[in-house]
């Protein structure tokens, strides 16, 4: 097995555990529609539903302290069109938002997606999480029922534990006279301001990914919307009696997704809850520095082979490549430039570069943008030597991704494996080159569909092989001899099965050498 020149961190056990959970949902939804692979996008989806339903409620809402409860009660009695449904939708979409956000956090943590080039997204995500909880808890106060009264009082008691307040905030909620319209207006402004701040944080959260996936696949979007609608009809939300600060209800039907901190405070006390909250966020915020996730070497631009075509710029999933004015005096107007702090070291840019074609003449292959840990020239040399060493039939070349199922175990007399940093690091011309070098078929192995370690690699590779994206696999390449397989790090058996199936198909086709006996011919690049 040809390994990259520089060792990179291997996918961890937690990432393997995530894949096993994913497999359960893959069975129902398929890999592409698995909701666990769209948790961030589902978060946006639920947030939009929550905002839309909230605006509808606000139109019919009385913003005074004395009228708020009555206006919501009127909605529940059907005096405002779709009022009760909108209230339920607002509640359940907000709850769903918390669930998918926490799952998103846990999933990314398990896959160690918090360090190096992901640090910014991790930290802004934590900030968004805090805003989400603040906005959600604050929203409960606006109904001004007994649940609102209890939640507001508990929150104020929590804030009052800070020396700067020291009990003074509680004066606002010691009896009904204190909760006046002015104070209530403040609570409403906060419930508008916090979601706006949350939107700002989410905007920042996706600034270093390209393209940001902020909408789930249509089927998943409609499916979750239908689920919420069914839930709203099956279990409308109910107001508690209007707030009365002279009484506390014996039991409160609690929304545990948002209001669990109040319960925690009942056990820990306000200072204990502050300590727990600070420890939770501090621990998560420290993860990028506390754990040693090494930064992969960044891509390097080789100006002598860069014509400024911007395909690397278009395909980089982290916006690490920008196009700038030419600095070497050549006639091309632009050149690629890599920001090492943003670069994931995935090699997708190398796969996108037209100069990466192995058909170029020369003992060493140099491309316009290359990876120090897995130079394209070395990979071509490995491909040539491994393919030449094949003796069995049908001869299969597996172009593997180091973040997916380990392809090394597949190697035998009729199977050669060359490992890339990502399936999309494979220039499509490598596939044709392998076939011309004597392979009967080429299997491109990458992560599970929609689950690329580098976000878009498997999808980009598929588009290039299908000829839908440049650089594309040439139409003259026999498609029946090329196959892409999606196999995660726990899918070694599935990869083996896919190889066996592919080999059987190739055996039926007969040897490739019979219809194309010439060795690959290297040519001067037209792009350099």
């Amino acid at each position: 097995m040809a390994a990259p020149a520089i060792a990179l961190p291997a996918p961890g056990r937690a990432a393997a555990a995530v894949e096993r959970v994913d497999a359960l949902f893959d069975a129902a939804f398929g890999q592409g529609l698995n909701p666990l692979r769209h948790l961030g996008a589902l978060g946006y989806h639920f947030l939009w539903i929550c905002c839309a339903s909230g605006i509808w409620i606000y139109v019919g809402f009385d913003t005074s302290a004395t009228g708020a409860w009555a206006s919501l009660d009127a909605m529940d009695r059907g005096e405002w069109p779709l009022g009760a449904f909108a209230r339920a939708l607002h509640r359940y979409s907000a709850d769903a938002l918390v669930v998918v956000t926490l799952l998103h956090l846990a999933r990314e943590a398990a896959r160690r997606h918090y360090a190096a080039f992901r640090r910014f997204a991790w930290l802004t995500g934590l900030f968004a999480l805090a805003l989400l909880f603040l906005a959600g808890i604050n929203g409960y106060w606006l109904a001004w029922d007994q649940l609102a009264q209890w939640s507001l009082t508990a929150t104020i008691e929590w804030l009052d534990a800070l020396p700067v307040f020291d009990g003074s905030l509680a004066r606002n909620v010691i009896d009904d006279g204190q909760v006046n319209d002015r104070f209530f207006s403040l609570l409403i402004f906060v419930h508008i301001g916090l979601p706006l701040a949350l939107l700002g944080a989410l905007w920042a959260h996706v600034q270093r990914v390209s393209p940001a996936r902020t909408a789930p696949p249509r089927a998943l979007g409609w499916g979750t919307a239908a689920m919420l609608a069914a839930l709203c009809l099956a279990k409308p939300v109910a107001l508690m009696p209007a707030a009365d600060l002279a009484f506390l209800p014996a039991r409160i039907p609690l929304d545990w997704f948002y209001l669990f901190p109040h319960v925690a405070m009942a056990s820990l006390g306000p200072a204990g809850l502050w300590a727990a909250t600070a420890a939770f966020f501090a621990a998560l915020a420290a993860l990028p520095w506390a754990t040693r996730v090494p930064r992969a070497p960044a891509a390097r631009v080789n100006l002598a082979n860069c014509n400024g075509c911007a395909r690397c710029f278009a395909d980089c999933p982290y916006d690490a490549v920008v196009m700038v004015a030419r600095t070497d005096g050549r006639h091309h107007p632009r050149q690629a430039q890599v920001d090492p702090m943003l670069c994931a070291g995935c090699g997708i840019c190398t796969g996108a570069c037209p100069s990466s074609t192995p058909f170029r003449r020369g003992e060493t292959l140099a491309t316009g943008i290359d990876m120090p840990q897995a130079a394209i020239g070395e990979l071509r040399a490995r491909l040539e030597s491994r393919t030449a060493a094949l003796t069995g039939t049908p001869r299969v070349v597996v172009l593997g991704c180091r973040w997916s199922a380990p392809a090394a175990t597949l190697e035998d007399a009729s199977t050669a494996c060359v490992e890339f940093l990502c399936a999309a690091m494979v220039p499509p011309s490598f596939v044709e080159y392998a076939l011309r070098a004597g392979a009967d078929g080429v299997l491109l192995a990458g992560c599970r569909e929609g689950d690329c370690e580098f976000r878009t690699g498997t999808a980009l590779a598929a588009e290039r092989l299908a000829g839908a994206r440049k650089p594309a696999l040439r139409p003259s390449v026999p498609r029946e001899r090329v196959r892409q397989v999606h196999a995660g790090i726990t899918d070694a058996a599935a990869l083996r099965a896919a190889l066996d199936d592919f080999r059987a198909a190739l055996a039926r086709l007969g040897p490739r050498a019979a219809d194309h006996p010439h060795p690959p011919k290297r040519q001067e690049s037209r792009h350099g």
Binding site: D95, R171, T224, L231, A246, P249, D255, W256
Partner: protein, 166 residues
């Protein structure tokens, strides 16, 4: 997996998610107070008396001051902490000393306590001291009936007779 089976599984998973949301959005119910308990909330915002008495300035001292600053008395800004003692049926349930706010300790003293108590009729005694000597010269004592869930607020409002129960 065949398509009808996959759709069935999807329906089960959507249903499970909906059930999860529906249940935990209201359940299990939480009891904010122990059974058969009421709540006393002590909340006050009161400026204690000056910690040190005013002193009449001598003629020499006044002469050293700018003409517009020649106040006859020198009154130190610092205020005394406010002390509050709450007893229920002769048993102390709160004994608070609230320091004045501000860098010079010349602001109001603020205190807040949440005191769950068994429901029923109790003899409540609240005493407050706001001078430097800590003299509990404001006292209110009376029988209070606290049904389960009742929230009794103890406040201090000099304009309404001092210690207020509501």
């Amino acid at each position: 997996m065949n398509r009808p089976l996959a759709w069935g599984l999807q329906a089960v998973l959507y249903g499970a998610f909906a059930a999860f949301l529906g249940y935990f959005s209201t359940s299990p119910a939480f009891a904010p107070l122990p059974p058969d308990h009421a709540l006393i909330r002590l909340s006050l915002n009161h400026a204690g008396q000056r910690k040190f008495p005013c002193r009449t300035r001598t003629a020499e001292e006044l002469a050293k001051l700018a003409p517009n600053m020649r106040a006859a008395e020198d009154c130190p800004r610092e205020r005394a902490p406010v002390r509050v003692s709450v007893e229920l049926d002769g048993r102390s349930v709160a004994d608070i000393e609230a320091r004045p706010a501000g860098l010079s300790r010349d602001g109001a003293s603020v205190a807040y306590r949440r005191i769950p108590v068994p429901a029923g009729t109790h003899r409540l005694r609240v005493a407050l001291a706001d001078d430097a000597a800590g003299t509990f010269d404001r006292v209110r004592e009376e029988a209070v009936s606290l049904p389960p869930g009742r929230v009794l607020v103890i406040d201090f409002e000099p304009g309404k007779g001092g210690i207020v129960l509501r």
